[in-house]
């Protein structure tokens, strides 16, 4: 992991719940560039706990003077976003990982259709800049409940291809109308709540779109839950995962070396073999197939939890 300490250069509230943070090199200089859709993992030393959350980069991918992210405060979450909102101020130093892109544009596409729900607008803010610079055809649809909550509005360029759908104002996105009649070679990208992703996938399938033309990213943060015990066979220890901690975070706290990349159940890096399981794994990831989830022989420690008597992992 090539992470570096970055200085918080700006903290800008965008809406009651969403704040933008800008990071820069403390000694000046430029940061590695990235591609639209990339995220970084921000490390948050929250007391004794080291939290690592992944956030989409929203700044211009071709501008290495700084990285910008937008963080929505999730009061029911494990505390990472609350930490960002309440503890992080201009001048603070935080460790930020190298950009990783698990939601890249397919550069072969003849046209890109971007569909965002709520805070799911974030990866598209960078992609818009990339598409504009590369002069590629696109259209963007941004769905939000109200103008006040639509943090992305002020960050979106005033272009005819950009459409906001504010449901409080009676404007709901008609997915079928958007997908119908798109030219051959169009790719569609969805980021937002599970329901939106499923609705787009469902409509696309009904309209006979092949799967490879559909891309999605759920902004999945590890859900909190009841505490549980896990035995790590290779390390020869048993650890307890706290209610506001992920299994991956608990392993890291116990100094157990575990690979990871997205920390959101998407990339497959942290896949771990289950040696024995008496109980039920709560799979929250998008990586394992339904059959693999039912078999309970693999787990994604970044987002998944467990209920039952015994869970032993090959780690």
């Amino acid at each position: 992991m090539t992470a570096r300490m970055l200085r918080v250069a700006e903290v800008t509230p965008l809406s009651p719940l969403v704040t933008r943070f800008r990071f820069e090199c403390p000694e000046g200089g430029t940061l590695p560039l990235f591609s639209g859709g990339a995220h970084v993992v921000v490390e948050m030393p929250d007391g004794a706990t080291l939290r690592r959350n992944a956030y989409s980069l929203i700044s211009d991918p071709l501008d290495g003077s700084g990285y910008e992210i937008a963080v929505r405060r999730e009061d029911a979450g494990r505390g990472g976003s609350r930490f960002m909102h309440t503890h992080v101020a201009v001048g603070d130093l935080l460790r930020v990982g190298a950009p990783v892109n698990l939601f890249a544009l397919d550069l072969r596409a003849k046209k890109h259709v971007l569909i965002a729900g709520g805070i799911g607008i974030t990866p598209f803010l960078a992609q818009l800049r990339q598409l504009t610079r590369l002069q590629m055809p696109f259209e963007l649809h941004y769905c939000a409940r109200s103008r006040a909550e639509a943090a992305g509005l002020s960050l979106l360029p005033d272009l005819p291809q950009v459409h906001a759908h504010i449901s409080d104002e009676g404007d709901r996105l008609d997915i079928g109308a958007v997908l119908a009649g798109q030219p051959l070679g169009t790719h569609v990208y969805t980021c937002g709540p599970e329901g939106l992703i499923e609705a787009v996938a469902g409509t696309a399938t009904r309209l006979n779109w092949p799967k490879a033309a559909l891309h999605s990213e759920a902004f999945l943060s590890p859900p909190p839950g009841a505490a549980f015990k896990v035995t790590l066979a290779r390390s020869g220890i048993t650890i307890t995962v706290g209610p506001h901690q992920s299994l991956l975070e608990a392993m890291e706290e116990a100094q157990v070396d575990a690979p990871w990349l997205c920390r959101g159940g998407a990339c497959g890096q942290c896949e771990t073999a289950v040696l024995s399981c008496k109980g039920r794994i709560e799979h929250h990831d998008h990586w394992l197939s339904d059959a693999e989830k039912a078999a309970q022989q693999k787990i994604m420690p970044c987002v998944s939890r467990f209920q039952g008597e015994d869970l032993t992992l090959d780690r």
């Binding site: 003849k110 997908l179 798109q182 051959l184 070679g185 169009t186 006979n208 779109w209």
Partner: protein, 200 residues
């Protein structure tokens, strides 16, 4: 008659899974010779598949045209060769929208060329279906002169462009719609293995 069964091969060799009806959705169908049978069987399983279909058929001496025409496709067109209908096929792709399925049936040469054309037009691979019927002759690219020899049925064979004797590989380029032919006597000019018929 079902599609041809090929023996298992390497990862680059295409697999023709057979046609599966997508219902009354926009479709382009392209078939040659015995490939007509695959379209006839497809329509028998789901007649609705013809409602919005543009069918192009290359009879190549077979008598299947009348039966195909009778399936009631939105557009039915017969063409004496792939070359003759190529511009028509390109126009159909250019006019198509997402949600269109391309059904290909017949020889590997036709399926390969049409697939390459459709991919270049932006049609995703997942929207292309294929079923092999009829001749197992291969479309071969000579790796040396780059010329394509159609209808190759023996291994080795003579490149119709540069005249080298080439052996038939299973390595296949989707972009070219062709298998690779490599000089069989490159190290020992004139020493040739016996000629064999290609098997499925």
């Amino acid at each position: 008659m079902p599609g041809t069964e090929f023996s298992p091969s390497i990862a680059s060799r295409p697999v023709y899974a057979g046609l599966v009806a997508q219902g009354a959705m926009p479709a382009i169908m392209l078939a040659d010779a015995e490939g007509a049978g695959a379209l006839i069987d497809l329509a028998a399983r789901d007649p609705a598949v013809m409602e919005r279909a543009h069918v192009i058929f290359i009879p190549a001496g077979t008598p299947h045209g009348a039966r195909l025409r009778a399936l009631g496709a939105r557009i039915y067109h017969e063409s004496p060769s792939y070359a003759a209908c190529l511009e028509r096929f390109r126009k159909a792709l250019a006019d198509a929208h997402m949600g269109t399925t391309l059904y290909l049936a017949g020889t590997e040469g036709l399926i390969g060329q049409a697939t390459a054309e459709a991919l270049a037009a932006g049609l995703p691979a997942g929207a292309i279906q294929s079923e092999h019927r009829g001749s197992i002759a291969r479309r071969m690219q000579c790796v040396h002169c780059k010329g394509i020899t159609e209808g190759v049925t023996t291994d080795p064979f003579t490149c119709s462009h540069c005249g080298l004797t080439l052996f038939v590989r299973d390595h296949y380029s989707r972009r070219l719609g062709a298998f690779q032919g490599v000089c069989v006597d490159a190290e020992t000019p004139g020493v040739l293995p016996p000629v064999q018929e290609i098997r499925p």
